[in-house]
Point group: C2
Chain length 350, copies 2
DNA sequence: TTGAAAGCGCTAACAA
DNA sequence: TTGTTAGCGCTTTCAA
């Protein structure tokens, strides 16, 4: 690889001039030299050494995407359709803006911080982070941060300063509408399926409860179908949830993700329970799976690709020094009716 | 961020000593100084500046994963379950070996080479590359390369030198066994579904043809179901393939991927054709979708995760200076019987 | 309009 | 056992 210094020597000029031409700081360079340099650069196929550049400029052009996740989860995080679609959205934006995406998977904040600071990462996208974790990152990392689906409590809001944005979904509404749809379709005993009660699911649970309340349906603790989603336990856990659903006569399930919804339905068929005839299911996400599956999933659509893209775009705007108007963008979910919820009219016609 | 020089000054010693301790070159350092340095490093939470290190050592600790792909494909490459699983396999190995993974998506070899050389990438994993493209990369890039699913012709073999390995599947056998299974199950008119005829699919097509030949089934050009898999055309293309299948009385399809198989089946149901009762389908990959779908897919299993991991492992061994015994690793596919092929016994019992 | 030179943080060859 | 120093390739300030 040829260096600027060598080029300068061959062309009989100083490295400064060459560097200036490369960076288009061309106001004070004669058209003649510009041409000479540019031609030569092409001829020798000059490629800058990013390490040197980063060192000199104290930056990296890297955007770190941090996926904090328990290592024993059912699927590797890349194969989760939601994550994949989100990453896809980010990747495109980041690449087109001339940055590089570096994903980092870990459940250890210290490790993450370490990584981020050795690479001198210019900006961070945090996914699946809880309050305190995000704060720990912010305390040590003073460049722009974009979160996806974070739940930041009021008291902590201020700690984040203005180099910060959160892209979220209106989770309460999401579950409220999904559950309401189930009830309106005739379900009387509706479960809430999720594998944790963190920020996102806590909000969804609230929405679910509100829908029950407003329709005069009583909630009992048994209605929360707590899935164990580790590699080892996922299958057996799902099996026992489904058999519970049968035993106690559930006729509807609001699932906190399409992925779980599909696993649930699959297990239903295995146990001889028909979906949607005996149990109706509503998912969340409308990931690529939802339309593909059979029965196709009735689900709360969110534009995952856009969510990723928005996070990346906002981050890049911050990197350019722009001030963002908002610290939080909340996307609206939308019900997509497909086949996994019982068709009320059809049913009553029989 | 504190630097080695600063640390040295505070501790009243030279940067070299500090650097030596950091790197465990501790044979020539007194236990006392070692302790002092280590304690201090912890105290100030020293983190090396990778850019500086890379510059000085002329390396990067980055492994580039190049996904060469047409931009207009049906799904973004991250959301392809096969790719996701492969990346997952790579990521784990790369991270645990102390390297960093940087994915790069492009269909422009020049751009890829450019990227690789600015970042001074230590090793490369190439996916979905054709012969000549891989050669173009090799010509400019002289560090270790691992390919996944490349088809290198004999004449080109030598051009790659020994810093090279290819991880492949026995594609001919894969299609041969899948097709044979369809025929043995009673299918008489079997189509071959794929969206291109590149290396992998060419080999699979050969296997498919051989299976037909050996069972005395004649092949006609119409039996190749050429799917158009761009975003715009995928759906309509699949629809017309399925209606063709019905018109000409196909009773079996060997699909070059699970993903396409599922889309095919989905479209069958849309058009009122039953799978497997009227058409049997065999896929390839056994990606996470296969088991999840309904009917679950009978498919040629390959260990995708392992494929990714193997590529990464081989690459890392090359980076460590080991000589590999083989230039090519060929994985064996294995038939996994599920629900998408007609059950012969059941059928004849009726 | 162009050039000289210092410095980014780290490593490594060599000297002490 | 420890220290000095040059240099990795690029940017940038300041001088010419």
């Amino acid at each position: 690889m040829i260096t600027i210094k060598e080029i300068a020597k061959t062309l009989n000029m100083s490295p400064t001039t060459v560097s200036n031409v490369i960076h288009g700081k061309t106001k004070e360079v004669s058209p003649d030299t510009i041409k000479r340099v540019q031609d030569f650069l092409e001829e020798v196929e000059y490629v800058p050494n990013i390490n040197a550049r980063n060192l000199a400029q104290n930056k990296s052009k890297i955007i770190g995407v941090v996926l904090k996740i328990r290592q024993d989860r059912y699927s590797h995080i890349y194969t989760d359709p939601f994550v994949a679609e989100m990453l896809a959205g980010m990747e495109e934006v980041i690449r087109k803006a001339g940055y590089f995406m570096m994903t980092y998977i870990s459940d250890d904040i210290a490790e993450i911080l370490n990584h981020v600071s050795t690479w001198n990462v210019d900006g961070l996208i945090l996914f699946c982070m809880l309050d305190d974790d995000a704060i720990r990152v912010r305390k040590k990392y003073h460049k722009p941060i974009a979160c996806v689906d974070a739940y930041i409590s009021e008291e902590n809001e201020s700690a984040f300063g203005d180099q910060f944005i959160n892209i979220a979904l209106d989770d309460e509404k999401c579950a409220y509408e999904g559950t309401t749809y189930l009830v309106k379709s005739g379900c009387r005993k509706v479960a809430f399926l999720a594998d944790n009660m963190d920020g996102v699911n806590k909000a969804r649970f609230r929405g679910y409860r509100r829908a029950l309340d407003e329709n005069g349906i009583e909630y009992s603790d048994r209605d929360y179908f707590a899935l164990r989603s580790t590699k080892k336990e996922m299958k057996s856990s799902m099996a026992s949830l489904v058999s519970n659903a049968r035993r106690y006569g559930y006729d509807g399930v609001f699932s906190s993700s399409d992925l779980f919804a599909i696993h649930f339905i699959r297990e239903c068929f295995k146990q001889g329970i028909l979906v949607p005839e005996e149990i109706s299911v509503v998912g969340v996400d409308d990931s690529e799976l939802a339309e593909m599956y059979r029965p196709s999933l009735t689900t709360m659509h969110q534009d995952i690709h856009r969510k990723g893209a928005l996070a990346a775009e906002a981050l890049i705007r911050m990197l350019k020094g722009e001030k963002l108007e908002r610290r939080q963008i909340v996307l609206k979910p939308e019900l997509v009716v497909r086949e996994s919820v019982i068709d009320f009219k059809k049913q009553s016609a029989e």
